[in-house]
């Protein structure tokens, strides 16, 4: 038990299991096959966007812009494909390239012009959504392409395609952070920028890299968002930045930087989506849902922060080591 509690996956996994169990107890429909595959679809976009948010958080920054990037890029995508006559494949490539470019803007402002990421991406949150409204007179574009929905709703071997995207992208991100020098540098910069610099790491380039990844993952999210509703809209992605940050934080990432595991981010994303799903199944209104999600974030971070105390409390229950925790109470 102690070893499990000491592992990096313990907190987020406990939160996930507790939440899933609670939801399963309140409604039978939760475990139905239809609902579960619906969950996969719901979590996929948040989970993919949260990869980028996690990269930025690991370097000690924050990214508030992915929701607005999604709005802007679904509009660009819909315009390019429906009105510009671009093929779906080229459209996707354009969107991914633009996502990297938007990440570049955030990254250059933050890393090279030394404006705090909270400010640059807050500005981007406003500016990018503003740009989204400049297309098509601010109206959504529907029925982009008859083949578009297949990207999101298609299946391979009975498994929804988005599950493959999530698994592949997380596998790549996990490998990158764990087994490459730039991945290690991301944690080093988040842990101590000064020490990283004196260890020969180009701190600015690493911070920029994190924002490029964030732009790219938001772009992937925007393709899925457009495919899900076969449309582009300047109102898509509202609040997505908060869900993505919450996924990372519920997954135990430290907002101070340097600590966190990308696998836990997907656990965090699942937790949020299951909570929302459970509330939906129980017909709880959206306003109350938002309050509950806020409480879950606090609770999940709390469990992580109090891990030592929880471990001590549990050792009272199983005094196998034989040492009495002799502590005087004041």
């Amino acid at each position: 038990m102690k070893r499990f509690l000491a592992s990096p996956f313990a907190g987020p996994l406990i939160a996930l299991v507790v939440v899933a169990a609670a939801v399963a107890l309140t409604t039978e429909r939760f475990l139905e096959g239809g609902n579960l595959s619906n969950l996969v679809l719901q979590v996929s976009i948040i989970a993919i966007v949260a990869i980028g948010s996690s990269f930025v958080i690991f370097t000690g920054g924050i990214d508030l812009s992915p929701g607005s990037i999604i709005a802007l890029l679904t509009m660009v995508f819909a315009m390019a494909v429906k009105m510009g006559g671009l093929s779906l494949g080229s459209g996707v490539l354009v969107v991914l390239a633009l996502g990297v470019a938007l990440g570049l803007v955030n990254g250059v402002l933050t890393a090279y012009l030394r404006i705090p990421s909270f400010i640059t991406t807050l500005a981007a949150l406003s500016a990018f959504r503003g740009m989204a409204f400049m297309f098509n007179k601010g109206s959504p574009i529907f029925s982009v392409s008859p083949h578009l929905e297949r990207i999101f709703y298609g299946k391979l071997l009975y498994v929804p395609l988005p599950l493959y995207y999530v698994v592949v992208l997380y596998a790549v991100a996990f490998w990158f952070l764990r087994n490459t020098a730039p991945g290690r540098a991301i944690y080093a910069v988040g842990g101590s920028p000064a020490a990283a610099r004196l260890s020969g790491i180009n701190v600015r380039r690493v911070q920029l890299l994190a924002f490029l990844v964030a732009g790219l993952s938001a772009a992937v999210g925007s393709v899925l968002m457009a495919a899900r509703l076969n449309s582009g809209s300047p109102n898509y992605g509202v609040g997505m930045e908060l869900s993505a940050i919450a996924a990372a934080v519920i997954g135990g990432a430290s907002l101070a930087g340097g600590r966190g595991n990308i696998v836990n981010t997907v656990l965090g994303a699942l937790t949020i989506v299951i909570v929302q799903n459970g509330l939906n199944l129980n017909a709880v209104p959206t306003s109350a849902q938002n309050v509950v999600v806020g409480a879950i974030i606090v609770l999940a971070v709390g469990i992580d922060m109090w891990r030592v105390e929880i471990g001590q409390a549990l050792s009272f229950l199983s005094p196998t080591k034989g040492e009495s925790p002799a502590r005087s109470s004041p």
Partner: protein, 502 residues
């Protein structure tokens, strides 16, 4: 000696889980006495101070004030009872003024609830003048030097009418003159009848200052104030047991020149500095804080750009555009501030070792974790680092182990020239000796070492040649045999620089 102890600890015991951090520690503090508390890292000093300052609660034993038992359930209660603790990390608010900080937590109020600014300023000025300190009560604390911030911290203690002042490593960041000024102040406070508990790793200055010492070892009192002799050999022996030599210097200098600096100058006040380092040689760099020692190190490591002069490394010209080039050329910097600039506290031991040369662990930017583990284990064994460094985060290791990790990083990076900036600052005597042995290993392997230290004895004992910095210039290079501590201190103070060169 006064008749009754002002403060007394009786058989204080503190456990953390199964570990006994303080085992029946007894201590008597008299007014008008400076009491040194010594011991290696992990000997229980910090725990004891925290118990005294109300941050920890003892599991056994009693704390008496003027013979009456007191309870100190939290830091506020301790402060109210008259214990003022000046920790290494100051508890000052940098954006507030001196006067506000001095009265923090007990601002003088008008009859209503408004702050009485006038009284606050007057009070602060009165306290500062009793200390013989000339500080503007309206100055913003963040704009003051570290030494002056410390004086504000002490003023805070005095304003709260503390009967006991605890100072934890107060000189870690101070220059020679500032230390002397602090000591004079502490002596004055002692003569006013206060009890002072003084903790420091710089044994020379402790011997200089304190009246009595208590020495801790493994959580117990190894030598009480009644038994202890206030002299260096006795103290070192009580702290670590048998140590053999305090400075285990080996001479490994060869003839081949490894590094040469010619007329270096930087925007950071370094001017016209020339010297060379041979393979196997320790070139000491001394001088007071702010004399340009650290700035020379920064220039060599490529952190500060040269505005004039040139360097060669081996037989090639060396002009680093930044730390990455310096590292690739084989130069290492062990920075002065190990905690902020050296270590990654979010990493365990091995990633701390490999971070400067990850390219060695795989191709095309990949890292083979198996290779990292192997390299880490080998260095941990070679440098005698605790085996727990593999699992534990760097912050959970002792200061000595932390410093070895940073040196290990540069061995892993295959550096040839090691610039060590205050490598033994804030670590205990046992760990210091380990660092000295490490320096010997470096020189035996033909590496060049530039040793920067404010500890004159260490500098003279461990260097083959010593360069003295003053006002950004190198005012002389001498063999240690030609120098003694006093002349080094005088030379670095600047006035005697010319005599030395002549």
């Amino acid at each position: 000696m006064p008749a009754a102890a002002l403060w007394e600890l009786q058989e204080v015991t503190k456990r953390f889980g199964g570990v006994v951090a303080n085992d029946r520690v007894s201590l008597k503090l008299y007014g008008g006495q400076i009491h040194g508390l010594l011991g290696e890292n992990g000997s229980g000093k910090s725990t004891l101070i925290k118990t005294l300052s109300g941050a920890h609660q003892a599991d056994g034993g009693r704390i008496l004030r003027a013979g009456v038992q007191v309870s100190l359930p939290d830091p506020i209660a301790a402060r109210r009872a008259g214990v003022a603790t000046v920790f290494q990390e100051f508890s000052l608010v940098p954006t507030l003024s001196v006067a506000e900080n001095v009265h923090l937590g007990r601002l003088p109020l008008h009859a209503g609830r408004q702050v009485d600014w006038k009284r606050m300023r007057l009070d602060a000025r009165r306290v500062l003048s009793t200390m013989n300190v000339d500080l503007d009560p309206d100055a913003v604390v963040g704009s003051l030097s570290v030494a002056n911030q410390q004086l504000v911290e002490i003023a805070k203690a005095l304003a709260a009418d503390a009967t006991m002042i605890v100072l934890d490593e107060p000189t870690a960041a101070l220059g020679i003159e500032e230390i002397a000024r602090l000591h004079a102040l502490l002596r004055r406070l002692r003569d006013q009848g206060r009890a002072i508990l003084y903790i420091s790793h710089r044994l020379d200055e402790v011997v200089d200052l304190v009246d009595v010492v208590t020495i801790l070892k493994n959580g117990r009192v190894s030598s009480s104030a009644d038994q202890s002799r206030v002299e260096l050999p006795y103290i070192v022996q009580s702290m670590v047991g048998e140590v053999g030599e305090h400075y285990p210097k080996e001479r490994n200098a060869r003839d081949e020149v490894l590094f040469r600096a010619v007329n270096l100058a930087t925007a950071n006040r370094v001017r016209d500095v020339s010297f060379e380092v041979r393979r196997g040689e320790v070139f000491g760099l001394g001088g007071v804080l702010g004399s340009g020692r650290t700035e020379v190190a920064r220039a060599i490591f490529g952190v500060d750009r040269l505005t004039a002069g040139s360097m060669t490394l081996g037989d090639r010209p060396y002009r680093p555009a930044g730390p990455p080039q310096a590292i690739r050329s084989g130069v290492a910097l062990v920075p002065e501030n190990r905690k902020a600039d050296g270590l990654f506290f979010n990493f365990t031991g091995f990633p701390n070792i490999t971070i400067a040369r990850l390219a060695k662990l795989g191709r095309h930017g990949t890292i083979r974790l198996g290779a990292e583990r192997e390299a880490g284990r080998r260095l941990v064994q070679e440098l005698d680092i605790t085996a727990t460094a593999e699992q534990r985060l760097a912050g959970a290791l002792s200061g000595g182990n932390q410093q070895k990790l940073v040196v290990g990083r540069w061995l892993f990076a295959e550096a040839e020239l090691f610039v060590l900036d205050e490598p033994t600052q804030g670590i205990d005597i046992g760990a210091k000796i380990a660092v000295y042995r490490l320096i010997n290993r470096l020189t035996a392997a033909g590496k060049g070492v530039i040793l920067i230290s404010a500890d004159a004895n260490e500098l003279l004992a461990m260097s083959d040649r010593v360069g003295v910095m003053s006002h950004g210039r190198l005012v002389g290079v001498l063999r240690p045999q030609e120098l003694d501590t006093t002349s080094l201190v005088r030379a670095s103070a600047g006035d005697a620089g010319k005599e030395i060169v002549a």
